[in-house]
């Protein structure tokens, strides 16, 4: 597959919702160590709403899928993290307007717009122990690969490594920043969510399905 349409985008959101939902308790446990213990519940509820809202749309175009996801994350997660995850999708909406499909380069640009939005919104840099530590390497790996199939696999692996790398960091953003050195030894829950999101897409990509 070399082009993605609205149906595939919808499928990606549904896959993310399923994957994140399956790991809800693990994500809550990660957040209990570093924050207020609600990340799994908030993000999985919001993704569920996104998937349901998209399913309810009549013949949605690509931007509508991305906008519905953005809104569900922004409005259902609440607080700063809802705004940050929501922004990732919101920043892609205008790029998807009037389009029927995306090639890999355009997909790369879509993801990059999201990352730029996240960094602009939350002011986090790589190494601050946030979801950026998973997102940034994932996008680099995605861009460097030759086709969609390889790109999703590389992105999923990079996001997973990125999430793992947060274990050794002290936090400079989010609630965990008040913990100082005590944050070391725990994976950032937002970074883990990003890893699960890419894993979900990779796992449902036609050529990559086992």
């Amino acid at each position: 597959m070399t082009e993605i349409g609205a149906a595939e985008l919808s499928g990606m959101i549904a896959a993310m919702a399923a994957r994140v939902g399956a790991e809800r308790d693990q994500l809550n446990r990660l957040d209990a160590a570093l924050g207020d213990g609600d990340h799994g519940t908030s993000i999985s509820t919001a993704f569920e709403v996104a998937a349901a809202d998209i399913a309810a749309l009549e013949d949605p175009d690509m931007s509508a899928v991305w906008l519905a996801t953005a809104k569900a994350l922004m409005n259902r997660m609440g607080g700063a993290s809802g705004a940050i995850f929501g922004t990732f999708f919101l920043r892609g909406v205008s790029l998807l307007r009037e389009r029927d499909s995306l090639g890999k380069a355009e997909m790369s640009a879509l993801l990059a717009a999201g990352l730029a939005g996240v960094k602009a919104r939350g002011k986090a840099q790589a190494g601050d122990k946030t979801m950026v530590d998973a997102l940034e390497p994932a996008l680099r790996a995605f861009a460097a690969a030759d086709d969609f199939s390889a790109a999703w696999s590389a992105a999923a692996a990079a996001a997973s490594n990125g999430a793992e790398s947060t274990r050794d960091l002290a936090a400079r953003q989010g609630r965990a920043k008040y913990l100082g050195e005590r944050a070391i030894g725990h994976i950032d829950p937002g970074a883990m969510t990003v890893a699960l999101m890419f894993e979900a897409i990779d796992g449902c990509w036609p050529e990559n399905r086992e």
């Binding site: 922004m74 409005n75 609440g78 607080g79 700063a80 809802g82 705004a83 922004t87 909406v93 939350g122």
Partner: protein, 336 residues
């Protein structure tokens, strides 16, 4: 000293909606519930005037509900306890506040409030809603050093902005000048809070943070966030003598200045204590040659039932004094 864990509520998940219903039932002549957790004026402002809207986590009552009304805000959007409302609700608030003269979104500076307001503004752009501006408000000197004012948190001193900006936007003014007025008041305002106790979340029934019986936190945020540090609790006069010099030197306020003073009750301080604190603050201000134009003492922006208070100053000129004295009729802010 453990905070009170049992709250007189029903189901925690209903508390924000039930609170809004109760508020709007009580003050139907002033405010009404507009859906999407909006509280708006019972009688909207005249067409063409600048509308004022603000999102606010719950748990600070009477802020911001009590500030909806003539001479004050047009719309307040309520969030969950200590959490900013999401951007769609903010967007609904902006639509409701806009009477054709544009809308000014006032943001009390916290990550969640700022990010959600920014998102709401992006939604406005996407939906083609024009003439919306955002102004970032901050006042708490304990949250970032002098010179980095824009990193500071918004706390009880925004009281001054709310009142004067509300009065200003009753006139025929532009959106840009409304924003400039808000910044002018903000830039003349400084606050510092102390607390003697924690509070308990009505949602979880757990204490929000820990505090010893004889401790005092200097520089508490409006949600109990840490400030300059803990120390042994002081007497009233000692507390003022610790706080006031920090405030005075920050702006700085100088001999000959005229100021408004707010002593904001964080929740469960007694008014008796606040009057005793005010007595000494007034004496020290007089010694410094600073003139108190008016003062307000009471619970205006609370942190649930925290025992503590904020001292806030706002330097005023003739314009601001007139705006201060202009009539206002919110449920919890009345100026005759």
């Amino acid at each position: 000293m453990a905070p009170r864990l049992h709250k007189l509520i029903n189901r925690p998940e209903d508390l924000v909606d039930e609170m809004l219903e109760g508020f709007c039932a009580a003050y139907a002549d002033i405010a009404r519930c507009g859906g999407d957790r909006l509280v708006m004026r019972a009688q909207p402002k005249a067409i063409g005037k600048v509308g004022l809207v603000m999102g606010s986590g719950s748990g600070h009552e009477p802020a911001m509900l009590g500030w909806v009304g003539e001479g004050l805000f047009d719309v307040v959007v309520a969030g969950e306890v200590f959490a900013a409302p999401g951007p769609e609700n903010m967007l609904a608030g902006i639509r409701a506040a806009d009477r054709g003269g544009g809308a000014l979104v006032c943001v009390s500076h916290h990550a969640g409030d700022r990010l959600n307001a920014e998102l709401a503004l992006e939604l406005c752009e996407i939906e083609g809603i024009e003439n919306v501006e955002m102004v970032l408000l901050y006042d708490d000197i304990s949250s970032a050093p002098k010179g980095r004012e824009a990193e500071r948190r918004g706390t009880a001193g925004l009281f001054f902005v709310w009142k004067m900006l509300g009065a200003y936007c009753e006139g025929d003014v532009s959106l840009a000048s409304a924003k400039a007025l808000a910044e002018k008041v903000r830039d003349n305002t400084r606050s510092l809070a102390v607390s003697l106790s924690s509070c308990a979340s009505p949602v979880t029934g757990q204490a929000m943070f820990e505090m010893g019986a004889d401790e005092m936190e200097i520089g508490m945020g409006l949600h109990g966030e840490k400030g300059m540090g803990r120390q042994k609790a002081l007497s009233a006069n000692e507390t003022i003598d610790l706080m006031l010099p920090l405030l005075l030197e920050d702006l700085p306020y100088r001999a000959g200045d005229e100021v408004l003073v707010l002593l904001n009750n964080s929740g469960s301080l007694t008014l008796m204590e606040l009057f005793i604190l005010y007595r000494h603050a007034a004496a020290r201000l007089a010694e410094a040659g600073i003139d108190v134009y008016r003062c307000w003492i009471g619970p205006y922006a609370t942190t649930l039932e925290t025992a503590g208070f904020a001292l806030a100053l706002c330097r005023v000129d003739e314009q601001l004094k007139a705006l201060w004295d202009a009539p206002a009729n919110g449920a919890y802010m009345k100026q005759l």
